[in-house]
Structures are given as structure tokens and as C-alpha cells.
Symmetry: C2
Subunit: 316 residues, 2 copies
Amino acid sequence: MASLKVPTSVPEPYEDAEQLKKAFAGWGTNEALIIQILAHRNAAQRKLIRETYAAAYGEDLLKDLDAELSSNFQRAVLLWTLSPAERDAYLLNEATKRLTSSNWVILEIACTRSSDDLFKARQAYHARYKKSLEEDVAYHTTGDFRKLLVPLVTAFRYEGEEVNMTLARKEANILHEKISDKAYNDEELIRIISTRSKAQLNATFNHYLDQHGCEINKDLETDSDDEYLKLLSAAIECLKTPEKYFEKVLRLGIKGTGTDEWDLTRVVTTRAEVDMERIKEEYQKRNSVPLDRAIAGDTSGDYERMLLALIGHGDA
Amino acid sequence: MASLKVPTSVPEPYEDAEQLKKAFAGWGTNEALIIQILAHRNAAQRKLIRETYAAAYGEDLLKDLDAELSSNFQRAVLLWTLSPAERDAYLLNEATKRLTSSNWVILEIACTRSSDDLFKARQAYHARYKKSLEEDVAYHTTGDFRKLLVPLVTAFRYEGEEVNMTLARKEANILHEKISDKAYNDEELIRIISTRSKAQLNATFNHYLDQHGCEINKDLETDSDDEYLKLLSAAIECLKTPEKYFEKVLRLGIKGTGTDEWDLTRVVTTRAEVDMERIKEEYQKRNSVPLDRAIAGDTSGDYERMLLALIGHGDA
């Protein structure tokens, strides 16, 4: 499912660290070498490289990358080099700050990560920001947005496959009733979406479709100007079919007037090691163009090369 | 701070397991031996005894204890023998079931455990009940109770000592304003109580006292018949001074018409390895009677002996 390509024979961490140090040396930076190394190492390997680099040179690899690189390429390399938990914590913190605030990023991370991974992001948030994720999310949101987002980021959903069909029927009816009444911020609706396991929700959404003849998402797409409603619908998409959610973020990020590089970088760096192959399939199916060609057509230079490497282009 | 007394030389787990097996054998059960062993072993040692017992006899020590013992003594021994996380998960599950439901137990566990311990209880809940704690709490509560309890059980508070004094002043004023307006279920008030670190809340409550001349708890004790208000006040007590909260539970459990053995058993088994010495001090201070004498006067037999052993009476 991951698109990341790691060579069959990986150099020792000290060799990678040495090569990276060389890439920074002298006039100019050897971006190709940075991509060749970092974009082809998995999370555990990148962690070892950072540790070895710090031990060998007394410097933080991330700080050196930050100093040597710039613009979208810099952001892609930095995000990618972080561990998944640190990266999520970083993105979440950014999303709660005024100038970079984004309910979308909060929702995306809360609903597409596994329960353990979301919890690890909360631990990394403590370690780095000396406060809790939920206090920042609750502090920076109000009203319906807070009512929806706080339970989503604090959830620790059960991850077993067990499903209670009676409950699924009952809760599908509750969801249908609330949506019919346009009670989108109803606390029962939020309770179901924010606490049930993904397997249980899947059964509930299937029952909703069987019983009421329409996908729950479609029933929510009645008013495309309502930001809260769009978030609620996206939450359901993230929980049900994350690959479709990510395909849409990529599609909207690439299409239209100018590329949204933040969305593009975030999705590629956070999914390359998880489910990027599934997302690429979805992209091809929906757009009749492979994702790599779409990215190549819309980006350039080292940034383009970095993204393409992460989505599995070329050899490791 | 713990009252548990462990002997300086602890027998090997297989010896303890063997002795326990003997205590169950033949006519009658040797309760004194069970107390002598289990009430003087810490969580890691009890875990080893259970594992060794299962390996040696192919039976679950907890099931054998359940079959051999009865009544309050049985409940005390079973709760104590569980690991802290399993025990909290068990108590929380009980508290969400109709016949044994208790918002108080949910609140107590959510607000007096460390962030890591509360999270471990959530993991143990998954493992044992095949669902999440928050889905049961949310499902079994409604209205203001749900609004308060769900964020409390899902919190993963920051535990560092860092305090933001500007924020403390600001939020003390928010709390005072909401309480003055009798807006006890206000979402800002719940946000502050349920997300801030205990150190931060302590600074906030101190500022409240300095600025408004009254402890925040006292300002909440205006209507002693309002169950929600009592819970909110108890949450603040648990977060601020858990030893005082537990002293009160013990005092009310022991005093009055008949003893509330469930409260007594729960507090003793959950605090013996944590802060029972502090609770005993508070008890003596508030009641002018040592806790062990109060318990001895109100309970009897093996149950009494078990509780007294856990609060540090006699030799290990």
C-alpha cells in the first residue's frame, strides 16, 4: 500500500549521514543527493540517520536541512524527515495557529490515522509543545466546529473488526433522522461519528445506504457553502474511504488556479508510507491521468523530484 | 505515599502461586493466607503471580478467587489483584452499565489518574470489552452529564509543571463569569476544566481565589441538590486536591446509616499503591480519628482484615 521505495541494500546510517553532510558542504547544495537518500528511507531508517547525524556532527539534521533548502522543496523534505508522530503533531500545531489555522488538517489527521498513531501524535504534541493537542484545538475553535473537532482529536477508537448489527441499524436511523431534520450539529450524531469504531461505522453507513437509498455523504452535500457541513461530510469520508478523501484533496490541490502546494506536500509526505498506492489508483480512476503525470505537470524542480520519488517514481 | 507494605524479602512467584493454590484446597478456604500474600505484593508482583499460577495450574487465579471467596471480601481481593489499568477499565465499564451506573466513578477515575494511567485504562478497555471507553460513556449519558464526562475521560492532559500565568488569569475570569451567571454547563467552562494541565488549573484556581476571595469549589456549592453541579465541583476537587476528594468519599462511605462498601473498597484498592498515606493524613485531620480505626469500627472479618492490610496496618 505504501509507495515509498527503499533499496534492497540500504547503506549504514553513518554512511547516509556522511553523504548528507557532504550534500550541504561548499558552494550550493546537492539536492539530488538529499532526495536520493531521504526519499528512499523508511521512518525507522530516517530516525537512525538523524540520531547518527547528531552524534557524528553535534548538529540537528532538521536544522541543517532547514538552513540549506528553501520553499516548497524545503517543506517537503522537512515534513518527510520527521517521524510520523512528530509530523502529525507539527501539522496539528500549525493548524491551530492563527495564520495557518485549518480545521481541515485537524479533521484529516483525527479521522484517517489509526487509534495508536493518533495517540502517538498526542504524545509527540506534549513533548514538543508542552501542552495537549486538545487544549489547543478547543481553545482555537468555537461553536459547532469545537463540538465536532474536539471529540474527533481525543478519540481512541476501538480497532477490532467486531460489529454490532443491531446497533448499526439503530444508529443508522438516528443519523438519518438528524440529517433529515438538518440537525447536523446534533450531539447524538456527533457522538456516533466521533466514538464508534471504523468497522462499526462502516456497518452503520451501509445500513444507511440500504435503508434510505442514498449514501450518507450525498445526503450531507445539500449546502456546499456551509463550512461545518463540508467538514462533517469530509469526516465521514475520511472514516469510510480515506483513499477517496485524499484523492479529492490531491485533485483540488492540483487542479484550478495554481497548485495548493501545502495540501500536495502534506498528503504525499503523510501517505507515502501508508496507503499512497491506493490513493494513486483512486486518482487514476477519477481523473483518467496517473498521479505522477499530474504532479509533474503542475510542479517543477527539486520539489517535483521529491514528490515523485515519494510516490514511487523511478528506482530506489 | 503508598500505604502498601511489601516484605523486604518477597517469595518467588511460583511459591506464592503454590501457597494460593493450597489456600483454596480442601474444606474451606484459607482467607488469612490469601491476604498475607496478595495484600502485600505490588502490581508487578501480582502480575507475575497470576502468570505463574496460570502456567503452573492451567487456571486463572482471578476465576479461582472468584469461586472461593464471597461478598465484600471477594470484591476487594478481585479488584486488588487486577492490574491498575484492568481495574480502572473494569470499574469504568461497571459504571456505564445500567444497574451499576455511576457518573461519580467515571468522574473520579478520569480526574484523579495520571494522563498515562488514564490512557492505559482506555487500552485495557479495548482489550477487555472490545469497544472504546468513550463510546460507552457517551452512549450511557445524556445532556450536561455527557458534555462534562466525555471530554474528561478522553483527555490526555499535559503533565509538565509549565504554567502560563496570563492564561491562568484570563481563564480564572472566564470561570468566575460563568459561575456568577450560573452557566455551569457553559462550553468555555468545560473546555478549561477538561483540557488544561493540572498545574495550569492549579494556577487558575489560585488566581480565582486571590481575585474573587472565594475558593471556586465553594462558589459551586450553592445548590446541593443539583447532581450535575455536585459532579462539576467534585471534578475540580479531584483535579486540585485528590486526597481531599478521597477523604470525603471515605468519610461519607463510613459514616451515616450503614457503610458504602463499594466506595470503601474502590478507594482502598485503587489508592493503596498511589497516595493512601496522604489520604490517611487528611482523614485523621478532618475526622480526629485514624482511618484504620474508622474502618475497623465499621467493617468486620476478612473484609476488614483485607482493607486494613492494604492501608498499611500491621507488618508485611
